[in-house]
Amino acid sequence: MQLLYNHKIFLLFIGGLFSLLLTIAVIYIKQLTKRETERKRLEEEKRFQPEAVGDIDAKLEDSVEFKKPNIFQELTKWGIQPLLIISFISLFEQATEVEIIGTFFLVILTLFHEFYLAEKFSIASKYQFTILAIWIFFFFLLSYKTNIRQEKQATSVINTKKYHSFLAVHYSVTNTTKTH
């Protein structure tokens, strides 16, 4: 279980998450400003064209461009690119096949996501859970791989130390035998 958590990877993911949240915050604020401007315009219009406007809140909510943004939908829409960048970063440190395959999978998924899936399914909770599951899966995968690598390095360091001490002893022994 300890193998599935790596602090360095955790920080990397926190960075990715914050970049995502920043994007969402900007989108949210922009959308709300737009919505308020449109609301003022509709209030003006309602005075001389009441039958075209009707209930202002319902009218705004029914339109394509002035809807109140759904935060989970936006998170899903923008959620795949930070993960792609995280997995690219993880490639710099002696990546194995698994990480390379994972990154390629993400590249292909990003293409599908941007061109088709995001528009169609980002409102569906199943798709939102899928994206979340991919994030969690990649967190565990990268943590696990990094932990394994660190352990290997640690053992190799110990081995080389052992080897060096062995050599030192060996040479000292041979040297002493030579002197005799």
Binding site: Q49, E51, A52, G54, D55, K59, S63, E119
Partner: protein
Amino acid sequence: MEIVILGNKESFQLTENNIPLEIRLIAPNLAQSNSLFTIIYDGYTLRINPDDCYKIAENIKGKSPIEVHFALNRIIEDTQFSNSFFNKSLTEVSLFKALFLIYNWVEIAFTDAYAVSIGSKIYNEFIIDYNNQVGSQQDIYFIRKELITNSNKIYLNKLIEVNLLVKLNMLGGDTFGNFETYFIPLIKPGVSRDYFTSQQDPTGEKSYTFWKKILADRDARLNSWMKNRF
């Protein structure tokens, strides 16, 4: 070929009335004959030639009700008909405009029966009422074919009553086939949640979710067009 539009001409928000308005455009196949078009507007019959029909469609695009009245005055000789547009409500004029937008949209079907399949043009598609001005444009959106079932008829009729949908029949006989569809009209007022209640649906919950389903389809369609241009 016949286009029949059926909608509520009163604004339900203001009057709480449902007065059905039927507009019918009867046209011959232009490849075979060049006879006159017939428009039956709420029982009043008007006969115009095909060129005028095209001219009206072009001239009232993106225009306000008063401009529609002037455009009709210029083109149609029957002044009684065009003058009756002087004091028509916005909702009613938007239905009349919708007829001509749809006529323009499927016009090729009037000349060549095999050039285009009408079915692909009137389900999950939209027509923009382009007004040459900066700002958001009004549009007509045809709902998906899967939503038009007998069990959904109650909700569809409720939405027609509150001015959110209009029924469209395309009667083409043997050569074209007959189609039935519904579309969101140009003037779509914001309808608050309370107006969705009906006898079959006392809480209005089902009609409301049905309406939201239509809107989700429309948003997906419009967004995919805005993003990818197809």
